[in-house]
């Protein structure tokens, strides 16, 4: 079916119009970073700075501990992804393939865990970590982020393994693989896209955290994550909007890049198991 010219103009018009509104805040972040303080303290606002100050990114990178914040965020994210993937690949596979007694109630419990408010868990975790003398260490984040991640990844992976035919393992076992071998050598390689999507989703979850970092690391400046650093910059007495925006760009870019390149995988992971 072909659309009439009027209809297609209307369609393109509304797509472009809504994209403009939706993406404006992101554009505004860049413009703010590139504007001088003088330009920012005047109205009407300028929608593109006269002399974009590209050097602001270099200035913020060297004057603020951005590289350190990003490294800390990356360590916490990679650590919690590794930990939760290890746990949930095994669990997801078991829940998908074996009839395990208590499997259903474990499932229900994990479902409930998805509803746990982070602000509730943060209280006992704080007490625990302080008892163990771990406050201020990035390990606290690796464990705490796993509380957020494992419930999601386990069910995402279970859903993914459900889509892989059992005949694959059976064939491998006929050919002499042990059940564990069949899982490691046949099923995991076949599930690579699902594993990648899940791991990336987990990475994004960990990178986004602010509540745990703020609570466990507040007195350990050298271990601050990117979000904690940025939020603290916003709380300073005089907020230099161009500097904080430039810093924010650095923090947002890794996730935006992951999203742009791997949109298909991420969206696949997000919707996995929630349809039907």
């Amino acid at each position: 079916m072909r659309r009439s010219p009027l209809k297609s103009a209307l369609l393109y018009g509304s797509v472009i119009g809504s994209l403009a509104v939706i993406l404006f805040p992101v554009y505004w972040l860049f413009v703010t970073a590139l504007s001088t303080t003088f330009e920012l303290s005047g109205l009407p606002p300028s929608f593109w700075p006269e002399n974009p100050q590209w050097w602001i990114f270099g200035k913020v990178w060297s004057e603020r501990p951005i590289p350190r914040w990003l490294t800390n965020s990356a360590i916490a994210a990679i650590g919690s992804v590794v930990l939760s993937m290890f746990v949930s690949v095994l669990a997801g596979y078991a829940l998908s393939r074996f009839r395990v007694r208590g499997g259903h109630s474990l499932g229900l419990f994990i479902l409930t865990a998805k509803m746990l408010p982070a602000t509730l868990l943060v209280i006992p975790l704080f007490a625990l970590f302080s008892r163990l003398g771990m406050l201020g260490s990035l390990w606290t984040l690796i464990f705490a982020h796993s509380t957020l991640i494992i419930p999601f990844t386990t069910w995402m992976l279970k859903g993914y393994f459900d889509t892989i035919p059992r005949e694959l393992e059976q064939a491998a076992m006929v050919d002499g693989c042990s059940p564990l071998g069949a899982m490691l050598r046949v099923i995991l390689p076949v599930s690579a896209p699902g594993l990648a999507a899940t791991a990336l989703y987990a990475f994004v979850l960990s990178w986004a955290d602010y509540a745990y970092a703020r609570t466990f690391l507040v007195n350990a400046q050298s271990n601050w994550t990117a979000n904690l650093g940025i939020a603290t910059m916003r709380g300073e007495y005089t907020t230099d909007w161009n500097e904080i925006s430039a810093a924010a760009v650095f923090v947002a870019i890794p996730i935006i890049l992951i999203y742009l390149f791997l949109e298909r995988y991420l969206v696949g992971g997000l919707t996995a198991g929630s349809e039907k």
Binding site: L116, T119, E275
Partner: protein
């Protein structure tokens, strides 16, 4: 490694040895299941169940700053009594309900309409889809930085826009005035929350078989009728789950509210989640804070069970 099959017709009875831990035997495979589940069970107990138990236990004690291993304070319902008698708690509940409804309504309306829009076939559709859901990829704290500047009281864009449109004649101190603070927060959360609805709806739209539409066309249904009688009913299951997930997200959110308004001004943007945190780490009343947190959790679980009911399996 060779696998011996029991009851192998070629083998005599004496050769079918039963190895106790031969996990390849179908009757033993569930053991492997338990082994694979063990790390998850251990982790869940260690980092979720045990802390949850501590919270519950704390909520029944009169404690300020607890130390694990200290002798337990006497059992008391004081925290819950104080909670249900405090007007702050009820006001916080009301703020939470308002915020959850406003953000969910906004996210669903914008999310579903953008999904319907990019579900059309047109050139550049893939790019439009990716761009439409981009806010999903912006970390919450960064989203707050952007909107805090847009809603800035001295040089913010939003006030300027309102003045231009003739809605007001002076700059609005969005974040520090009770009413506007709520709306500034709502706008920020909707911007961050609608892409999820959009992504889920799009997935739902694409799972509708095209034959349905073709058949309806043959029967002479117009575009509106096709939307009403095919699109909406087919989307409902996905939308139901999405709705609950968005509500839970708003209900539990910490970072956006904390960084944008800190629950203020005058606690008009303080949700239960923020109240829990502030009672613990602002006033160091861990027992009381735990009580707020437990009540929040109970509301979360009850509300989502009531809303999804039988469909709750779909959330897995």
């Amino acid at each position: 490694m060779s696998v011996r099959i029991d009851g192998d017709p070629g083998g005599a009875g004496s050769t079918t040895r039963i190895r106790l831990f031969d996990l390849a035997r179908p009757s033993r495979q569930h053991i492997l299941g338990y082994i694979l589940l063990a790390p998850a069970v251990l982790m869940v107990i260690l980092i979720i169940a045990y802390p949850l138990f501590i919270s519950f236990d704390l909520s029944l004690q009169d404690v300020k700053l607890p130390r694990i291993g200290e002798t337990r304070k006497p059992f008391t319902f004081k925290n819950y009594q104080k909670l249900f008698n405090s007007s702050e708690f009820w006001m916080t509940c009301w703020v939470t309900v308002k915020l959850v409804s406003a953000v969910t309504a906004g996210s669903v309306i914008i999310g579903v309409s953008t999904a319907l829009l990019v579900n059309h076939r047109f050139r550049g559709r893939t790019v439009a889809r990716i761009a439409m859901a981009l806010p999903w990829a912006v970390p919450e704290v960064i989203a707050v930085v952007i909107f805090a500047w847009i809603f800035d009281s001295s040089f913010g864009l939003m006030s300027w826009l309102f003045i231009k449109l003739g809605l007001t004649d002076q700059m609005i101190a969005w974040v520090s005035t009770p009413g506007p603070a709520f709306w500034a927060l709502t706008v920020t959360m909707v911007w961050k929350g609608f892409p999820f609805v959009s992504i889920m709806t799009l997935a739902g739209l694409q799972s509708i078989p095209p034959d349905y539409y073709a058949a309806a066309r043959v029967d002479g249904a117009n575009a509106l009728q096709r939307f009403r009688w095919i699109t909406i009913p087919c989307l409902m299951p996905v939308l139901g789950v999405t709705l609950v997930l968005v509500m839970l997200w708003v209900f539990r959110d910490f970072s956006i509210i904390k960084v944008l308004t800190e629950g203020g001004p005058l606690k008009t943007t303080q949700t239960l989640s923020i109240m829990t945190y502030d009672q613990a780490f602002g006033f160091f009343k861990f027992g009381y804070a735990s009580a707020v947190g437990i009540v929040t959790l109970v509301i979360c679980v009850l509300a989502s069970l009531a809303m999804i009911g039988r469909q709750s399996r779909a959330m897995y």
